[in-house]
């Protein structure tokens, strides 16, 4: 197999630079090429720096949000070059990624130059989204076509987990394997194999879906607001709704993408059948209403007398009017009951049915045209278009027979694939595995990539060792258990703590190691604030105090348990969810882990040992400033500002993760990696020894207090930020009796956390903050 180490990306546009950034995130040096700007007739460049385009692209990356880099320092791994002066450097590259404009002639000209320079066995791939591989390689020599494939990333490359790969007729298997391997392990992508057909999988179906949503909206007279409520969560598609999604992606791309698809597809394709002129869309683009990047799109924000008003376009008149709140019968339906939505038959659900049914029917026509495996289509839509369920999973939820009969009643042609699913559906489960309908009409096992383990696979044919409403404990083999949060949003409550205690006993006597992990998108956003709020509202202070204490005890027991504990976070690990990381022996984190002690944001202080652990880490780093006040000051800064690290790499900088903690790029590999990590710690495992603290005391508190006062004075912090920060300062300075000469125990710091917590949670402004986040999902800046 070709091993990929050195990589270059040619084309420093949005996609090319984003791909380069993510390769840099994976720890690889990457060459980023673009053209020399403004070359005049004599071939002279007006700019002083002939690589200015690639360089500007890197600068732009550093300013982009969401951040393309998992750590800003990764930008240094990208080398900005231009194709006129430096192209020869591709001779050192194992993988050459072409991401230039979608122009066949330009691409082919570039390939010819690449072919002359690249080393034997190197791989060339194109990031094209609209051109067929067979067209791209037309006329290229066999040496090139054997090493060539399409690697289609989605935007933004760091965050979108889908990568479509297209193997050409002549492409060597080893090329595909090498790219596959690299993208899977190093870039964390789910690689889906597609056939060489227009739009591949995700865009073929996704653009059809968006196009139908538009066309049907014009035809049915539904308003944009209504469409965005119904063609959203109830259908398992992004909850913004499809029009808001178009605004986000950019309207100007749409006509081009649709046109290129129409041009490439045969006349009898369903895509061609829904073809319609959309003059309003063209007019909007023409007038600069290209979406959020322009003056607005289907929605716009207008400032009226200083107040911002969100407006929405009327699809028939083209006029904007303030967004109206609409009540729609089916808006609360969960996608798992999507059939109920389609049984309603009012205006909104009929619209949803028209769009979704046509799209799903189209999906059934695309197998085996675009892929042989229905699971590939589902995965592409889940990861490329953020659908909660893929089209075939959706049909199973609706019921294939019911779906078919309803389509037939509307004179829609039924594909052979749908016909084959009528009897038993697209997916079925037996004890050992999930099976999916294959192109022969039989069922084949759904294969995970080698080495991938999901907890759901283990749970399918096992009984939990222990379980309660908030958590479960599973045997994941080789003497390792997995502690899984199962509460709503993985929030933590007294049941979580109870099961943690029980699990520690169980593992101590019967197992070797524990992994804390769940398949959910987010590790845990912390304590169950709804319960806490309720308890606070009924003045159940003793109950609150007891859950604070229970959490401290559970986390402490976890830390000093006689076996290694590895936490495996992904997504959000906030508040109490971050504190459990801090009490683990090691962390195996997905790169997309967002962690921090955010309690201050809701007017509280970390009190499940978070302050204590952060103090310990910042005071005992040999590379950090010495002296009794530097460590507490840094912890104070992070906690009082509710700092969240925006990647696992940043979590290391914030010391939520230790230098020895490790990162998994591919979400699917997180559990397996964490288990390996846990096993590696088993031999000679010794629980950590209790830390002690020499804290600076009231003198440092006075410094913190002054800082807080100046922040509040200069309006950098709000009044209540100041109140909360004072409590945090109280804890981190060690309390009134602290002195650098006096050593305090861990329990003494925990007691300080409890006292401050119980004081601050009784503050009405803190309760207002908690209430606000519960009711609106947004922080209150009071």
């Amino acid at each position: 197999m070709n091993e990929i180490k050195n990589i270059c990306v040619i084309g420093a546009g949005v996609m090319g630079s984003g791909i380069a950034a993510h390769i840099a995130n994976a720890g690889h040096r990457v060459l980023l090429f673009d053209i020399v700007p403004n070359t005049n007739s004599e071939g002279l460049c007006s700019a002083q720096d002939r690589s200015i385009i690639a360089k500007s692209a890197i600068k732009k990356l550093l300013k982009t949000n969401p951040e393309p880099f998992t750590h800003k320092r990764n930008a240094k791994r990208i080398v900005a070059l231009n194709i006129d002066d430096h192209l020869s450097q591709i001779s050192e590259c194992d993988w050459i990624i072409e991401a230039i404009v979608e122009n066949i002639a330009l691409k082919q000209a570039l390939y010819t130059r690449i072919e002359a320079l690249r080393k034997p066995g190197s791989i060339v791939s194109s990031n094209t989204s609209t051109i067929l591989l067979s067209t791209l390689v037309k006329g290229m020599p066999p040496r090139f076509t054997e090493d060539f494939c399409i690697t289609h990333f989605f935007n933004p490359p760091r965050y979108m987990r889908l990568m479509e790969i297209v193997k050409g007729e002549h492409t060597k298997n080893s090329v595909i394997d090498a790219v596959n391997q690299f993208c899977d392990y190093r870039l964390g992508k789910s690689v889906v194999s597609c056939k060489d057909s227009p739009g591949f999988i995700a865009n073929r179906l996704g653009v059809f879906w968006i196009y139908s949503a538009l066309v049907e909206a014009f035809d049915s007279g539904i308003s944009v607001e209504e469409a965005d409520i119904i063609l959203a969560k109830p259908c398992g598609v992004p909850k913004t709704g499809v029009f808001a999604l178009m605004d986000l992606v950019g309207l100007d791309l749409l006509p081009n993408v649709i046109d290129s698809m129409l041009a490439a597809l045969p006349a009898d394709d369903a895509f061609v059948a829904i073809k319609r002129e959309l003059p309003l869309l063209l007019k909007m683009i023409d007038q600069g209403y290209t979406g959020r990047k322009g003056k607005g799109g289907f929605y716009r924000v207008k400032t009226v007398q200083g107040a911002k008003v969100k407006e929405v376009i009327d699809l028939h008149t083209g006029h904007y009017a303030p967004v109206k709140r609409v009540d729609i019968a089916g808006s609360k339906i969960n996608v798992n009951n999507i059939k109920q939505l389609f049984e309603l038959e009012d205006k909104a659900s009929s619209y949803a049915w028209r769009v979704m049914s046509r799209t799903l029917a189209y999906a059934t026509q695309l197998v085996p045209q675009v892929a042989d495996d229905i699971n590939a289509v589902d995965e592409a839509m889940r990861l490329g278009y953020n659908w909660k369920l893929g089209p075939f999973e959706l049909i199973d939820k609706i019921g294939a027979r019911w779906f078919k009969e309803k389509l037939q009643a509307e004179n829609i042609a039924i594909s052979a694939t749908l016909e084959a699913a009528v009897a038993q559906g697209f997916y079925k489960k037996d004890e050992a595995q999930i099976l999916s309908l294959n192109t022969q009409g039989g069922y084949s096992s759904v294969q995970r990539a080698a080495g991938v383990v999901m907890l759901s696979d283990i749970k399918r044919n096992a009984q939990a060792i222990l379980s309660n409403p908030s958590a479960s404990l599973w045997d994941i083999g080789d003497g390792v258990v997995c502690f899984e949060f199962t509460s709503k949003m993985n929030s933590l409550d007294s049941d979580t703590m109870k099961l943690l205690h029980k699990s520690i006993l169980e593992v101590s006597s019967n197992y070797q190691a524990m992994v804390i992990y769940s398949d959910a998108d987010n590790f845990s956003a912390g304590a169950n604030l709804g319960l806490a709020m309720f308890a606070a509202n009924i003045a159940a202070w003793p109950e609150i105090a007891s859950i604070v204490q229970a959490g401290q005890q559970a986390y402490k027991a976890l830390k000093y348990s006689p076996f290694p504990v590895v936490s495996a976070p992904c997504g959000m690990a906030l508040g109490g969810g971050c504190e459990i990381l801090l009490h683990s022996d090691a962390i195996q984190a997905h790169i997309e882990t967002y962690s921090g002690l955010v309690e201050a944001g809701v007017g509280l202080v970390p009190a499940w040992g978070g302050c204590k652990e952060m103090l310990h880490r910042w005071m005992n780093d040999p590379h950090y400033t010495k002296g009794p006040i530097a460590g507490p000051a840094k912890a104070f800064e992070l906690i009082s500002m509710a700092t969240v690290s925006k990647s696992a790499e940043q979590a290391k900088s914030n010391k939520v993760m230790r230098p020895s903690d490790t990162i998994t790029m591919n979400r699917y590999r997180l559990l397996a990696d964490a288990k390996q990590k846990a096993l590696s710690l088993v031999e000679h495992y010794k629980a950590p020894s209790e830390p002690s603290f020499n804290l600076p005391g009231p003198s440092a508190k006075a410094v913190f207090d002054m800082t807080i006062a100046s922040y509040v004075r200069s309006a950098k912090a709000t009044k209540h930020d100041g109140v909360v920060a004072l409590e945090i300062a109280e804890i981190l300075s060690g309390g009134p009796k602290a002195d650098p000469q006096v050593t305090q125990s861990e329990d003494e710091i925990l007691a300080l956390e409890r006292t401050s917590f119980m004081r601050i949670i009784r503050h009405p402004d803190s309760l207002d903050r908690v209430e606000h986040i519960l009711l609106t999902g947004k922080p209150l800046r009071n």
């Binding site: 606070a536 509202n537 009924i538």
Partner: protein, 594 residues
């Protein structure tokens, strides 16, 4: 035969010693409501109710209302009494000065209302409904409609009704069928039949202003298609005077168990002209606002009935001679001791007394917060007060009327066989009381409102305004050794309430039927804790005044408080047990097994 004397001393205690009625003058618009004014006003109300309305109570019950040719005549004397009510300015008591009102605070108004309900509940229904219509129009109607209707509602020349119920819909108003056809001039023609319309037709005023729930022909089905209309019985001419009938006809009146002097009518609207009040299809908003205030008014009815029943029972127990005291004759000069010497009679009297005074205190707390919710200068305080009123409205409605039913029955019991005889006038209170547990939302509905809406709303925020003051009070006074016999039971009951609340909310999330099954018990528990808080505070204040207790008022308060803590509050233990245990049996039988 009881004799009514308004409990002015206790009202004064509740307003000015227990609560902060002296601060009413700090609220916007209540600057005039100083104690100097309020006390004489209460005294004036007392004499009016004692001398004019009370004597008409039994005769009104016996005579009832009569429907003849679409006209309803009220019992003898009602018309004159109503004239006096208007002349005394009582209909304008807490109405806006802009429309001729006196703008007195709810805190004071509630006391006057209580007297009215003790003296003559049936009579009180007429001005009570007028006031409800006044409030709805004042909150939601256009200024043109306000100018048209409010002055005459305020001076009592016209009266009002609320037309919600139809034959097939009571609790579920979304089923309402009455139609409102829009007219070119902006008015509507209303057609439909409303039933159970209190004060729907009578001879006290020259016009009756109906508030009617109806739907436009094009409105969506259900609750979201309902609008509120104002429909006068008689057309109103350009001078504002009543003219010909507006196709509003009373077709029958109900023959009822109680409140017989209040006419409960079936009203037919046959293309009657009406006007939209508030926004189209938002009728339920106006309805709820009316309903919430009406529920508070019903809670006051409960207190009124408790008080009059208690007074009757005390008088009888002191004069009825039967048997001798267990500890030897107390009145050897008489043929027998009065029955007040007997512990079981005492038990009944103390129970009535403890409930009556406790409810008065709690009701006054709610009224005070009601005043704060509309007139406090600090917006945050207004909001908090409103949330408190929202929370406690179903509790006081249900608790006070259930308690009133118990007390009026005890009143009959104290009278023994004579209580069962109509002439004693005690059984009327039981019959009159019965409807208070039903109308304006049955007490079962109140309990559901409490657990289903008021508890979970805003992550439990409404609760804060009740639980935090009690918790703070307990923390602050825990060291007060004199208060131990009061504060300890309060604390215990309060902790039970906290636990039960947490339990209800958790169960409510996953098993709403299980939570609903114990809603009534929970409401009672909640109410008893509120009464315990009131009684604890009252005991504390009374203890501070024992040295100057010439009338025995404060000693009696301390003793009654202790009685409440020892003999009534323990009910919370049983209620708690019932709430916390499994409730599956409630829904376990198949429908066929009933």
């Amino acid at each position: 035969m009881p004799n009514y004397q308004a409990p002015i001393r206790d009202m004064q205690f509740v307003l000015y010693e227990l609560h902060n009625a002296s601060k009413l003058v700090e609220l916007t618009g209540f600057e005039q409501a100083s104690q100097d004014l309020v006390i004489p006003v209460l005294n004036a109300a007392a004499s009016f109710n004692e001398q004019v309305l009370f004597p008409l109570n039994r005769s009104g019950d016996e005579q009832g209302c009569l429907l003849e040719q679409g006209k309803v005549s009220t019992p003898t004397g009602f018309k004159q009494a109503y004239q006096q009510l208007c002349e005394g300015g009582w209909t304008a008591f807490n109405c806006d000065t802009q429309y001729g009102g006196m703008n007195m605070p709810k805190s004071v108004h509630s006391m006057v209302e209580e007297m009215l309900c003790s003296a003559n509940l049936s009579f009180g229904i007429y001005p009570g409904l007028t006031y409800g219509v006044y409030q709805a129009l004042h909150s939601f109607a256009s200024s043109a409609l306000k100018d048209k209707f409010l002055p005459k509602l305020v001076d009592g020349k016209w009266s009002g009704t609320m037309c919600l119920t139809e034959a097939h819909c009571g609790t579920d108003l979304g089923l309402c069928r009455t139609q409102a056809k829009p007219q070119k001039n902006g008015s509507y023609l209303i057609s439909g039949t409303k039933i159970f319309i209190s004060a729907g037709q009578h001879d006290l005023t020259d016009n009756i202003i109906h508030l009617v729930l109806a739907r436009r022909p094009d409105a969506v089905a259900g609750i979201k298609g309902i609008s509120l209309f104002v429909v006068p019985r008689n057309h109103i001419d350009e001078n504002g005077e009543s003219g010909a009938n507006n196709n509003v006809i009373c077709s029958s009146i109900e023959n009822k168990m109680g409140i017989k002097a209040s006419a409960t009518c079936t009203i037919n609207f046959e293309d009657a002209q009406g006007w939209l009040v508030g926004d189209l299809n938002k009728g339920m908003r106006g309805m709820f606002s009316m309903m919430n205030r009406a529920r508070l008014a019903v809670s006051i009815q409960g207190i009124g009935l408790c008080e009059i029943s208690y007074q009757g029972a005390v008088e009888y127990a002191k004069t009825r001679l039967q048997g001798r005291s267990l500890t030897g004759a107390k009145h050897p000069d008489k043929i027998a001791d009065p029955i007040i010497v007997h512990p079981d009679v005492r038990r009944m009297l103390m129970t009535m007394r403890a409930y009556t005074q406790g409810c008065r205190a709690f009701g006054a707390w709610v009224s005070q917060e009601y005043d704060n919710s509309i007139a406090h200068k600090d917006a945050k305080r207004r909001k908090a007060a409103d949330e408190f009123v929202q929370l406690t409205t179903p509790i006081v409605k249900s608790l006070f009327t259930d308690v009133a039913f118990e007390c009026t029955n005890l009143g009959v019991q104290v009278f023994g066989g004579h209580g069962f005889i109509h002439e004693s006038a005690m059984e009327q209170y039981v019959r009159d009381c019965r409807i208070t547990q039903i109308y304006e939302g049955t007490n079962g509905i109140q309990a559901l409102d409490l657990i289903g809406r008021k508890l979970p709303e805003k992550a439990g925020r409404n609760l804060r305004h009740f639980f935090h003051p009690i918790q703070e009070y307990i923390e602050k006074n825990a060291a007060n050794t004199q208060l131990i016999p009061f504060i300890q039971p309060l604390t215990k009951a309060f902790e039970r309430l906290q636990q039960a609340t947490g339990h209800i909310v958790l169960v409510g999330l996953s098993k709403p039927e299980q939570a609903a099954a114990v809603a009534s018990e929970y409401l009672k528990l909640f109410g008893l804790v509120a009464l315990a808080f009131m009684w604890c505070k009252m005991a504390q204040i009374a203890q501070q005044n024992l040295t100057q207790d010439t009338e025995g008022f404060y000693t009696a308060k301390v003793t009654t408080s202790l009685f409440f803590m020892q003999k009534i509050l323990p009910q919370t233990s049983a209620l708690f047990a019932a709430i916390m245990t499994d409730s599956k049996t409630i829904m376990a039988l198949d429908e066929e097994q009933f």
